[in-house]
Amino acid sequence: MEQPLFCHRRGAEAVLTLQPNTSISIAYHPRFGPHDDLILLELDEKLIPDILHERVTLRGQPDEDAVLCTQLKTYAVKFVGTSNSVFLIPPSDQSVSHEKPLDCDEKDHDKMVIASVIKVAPGSMELIEVAPRLDKLKLLLSENPYGADEVIEVEDLEGMEKINTGLYRWDDLIERVQASDEELRSGLRALSAVEIDGYWRIVDEKYMDGILNMLFHNLILNDWSYNALNEDEVVGVLELDGYPRKVACHCLQVYASKVDGVASGSCLWKLDEKRVCLHFARGILRGGKKKMESFMEEWIRKVPEGMQVNFNMLEGEVLIEKLGIESWVYAFSVSSLPSTPADRFSILFRERQKWEWKDLHPYIRDLSVPGLSSDGLLLKYTRRTQPTLDAEPVFSAR
């Protein structure tokens, strides 16, 4: 007796394993319909393990275009329609086979195998890798920066609920920011954000001024070395001045780096000259533009003894404006600019119509668009002119 083959299978496997010289009937499934809840998603083979292991989510607010996030990357999701008829055939439903397998002869048409179409797909979703949308992160964390008010509030409102407006935990940020976990962590690092009481906070600049000033005051008082600050000593002194421990530690992390290879005991930190000098420069320019000479004089004076200022430290942070014979300097920080290329270039060209490469570069080197090189970015968003062969090329808006 021959083994009956493919009798009354009603599914995809019958189509996919169809043998030469055999036929099957394709019919509409008993439950054929629009099935709008069935979606096709096209994706690279390498993403399949992430999806199958449930490491992928869609993120975004109802009014935003959805993005798909793995643990590392973010992808825009686009629907691509088709004018073809795409008949979707599911595998046979093992639970619904009422008939016993019958002996079946391929030539016996009355018992031909049927494969059923559950839906005609109008198209499928495709993924395009995109840069994470982190501008929103800065916006959210700027709603309620951590500052002096905070500390006072806590002391005065003993027993009262702190009003939690503009405060976001990690889980709140995940719900609102269209970025993968890794990209979100990286974005928080880039903003020098710190987690306090479970909420992610940006520290108010003036408040940070205060901490740094206290640190330098004590540095001189205690004759500490810039290159070997003892963590316990520093944090201890700042705590005595009323700064929360978390914030004191954060200050070290932002303005210093850990010294490696220290034997057991307290950690040692080395102040980062560039970050410290930049901090003081920003403080000086907070009130508006200053004449170059006045600025430099004030900057050298304010910077801690032993540290050397260098105008290069300010690239991507300040711009120079020539008014007549005088040069004026003002704050213009790349960190205050949008991270999407179109918006970034738009603001840059509004600030200044023409840019030389050496001035432009610090303001665009952090832009990242998957699939577009930095040359590609320039090509796409700028017009390059070069008056003479010896002259510097100049970039302006397209």
């Binding site: 599914g11 995809a12 496997e13 189509v15 996919l16 169809l18 043998q19 030469p20 010289n21 055999t22 036929s23 009937s25 394709i26 019919a27 509409y28 499934h29 008993p30 439950r31 054929f32 709008d36 809840d37 069935l38 979606i39 096709l40 998603l41 096209e42 994706l43 690279d44 083979e45 399949i48 393990p49 999806i51 199958l52 292991h53 449930e54 992928v56 989510t57 869609l58 993120r59 975004g60 959805a66 798909l68 004018s83 073809n84 008829s85 795409v86 008949f87 979707l88 055939i89 599911p90 595998p91 048409h109 031909m112 049927i114 494969a115 179409v117 797909a121 499928s124 995940i174 719900e175």
Partner: protein, 138 residues
């Protein structure tokens, strides 16, 4: 908000779905348009030579082949989760996407269909009120 993509298949165990794809639209006769379920669309045959496939819909015969997809496709099902106290779907009900299948191949028909002059073709099964006829895309 987050929509989780879930999968209860386990790696490598995702059920494989199939696609039969035509350039054109299959139209049903008006009499049966609203009751398509269970009606036959056509007959799919695999020839002996080189794995060519033919798909006969009404009096049209299409020729095609089984093609691996350049990129695999997942079949996702949107599932609305009701909260503990919700009896009906509302704006606040959460949504999940469940992976219920994977597609790696399709049987693609892109050549112009051949009209079968004779109505008694050995591979076409005559049925009462054969419901389909093929309208090719131009």
């Amino acid at each position: 908000m987050q929509i989780k993509v879930k999968c209860s298949c386990g790696e490598g165990n995702c059920p494989e779905w199939a696609i039969v794809e035509l350039q054109g639209v299959v139209e049903a006769q008006p009499a049966v348009q609203d009751r398509l379920q269970n009606l036959e669309i056509g007959v799919l045959c695999r020839s002996s030579s080189q794995g060519n496939y033919t798909f006969t819909v009404g009096y049209h015969e299409l020729t095609g082949s089984k093609v691996p997809l350049k990129k695999p496709m997942l079949v996702l099902k949107k599932i609305k989760l009701l909260g503990a106290n919700e009896k009906t779907e509302s704006e606040s009900s959460r949504v999940e996407l469940e992976v219920i299948g994977i597609i790696r191949h399709r049987i693609l028909f892109k050549a112009r269909p051949k009209a079968l002059i004779s109505s008694s073709h050995p591979n076409v099964k005559e049925r009462m009120g054969a419901p389909g006829f093929l309208v090719p895309n131009e």
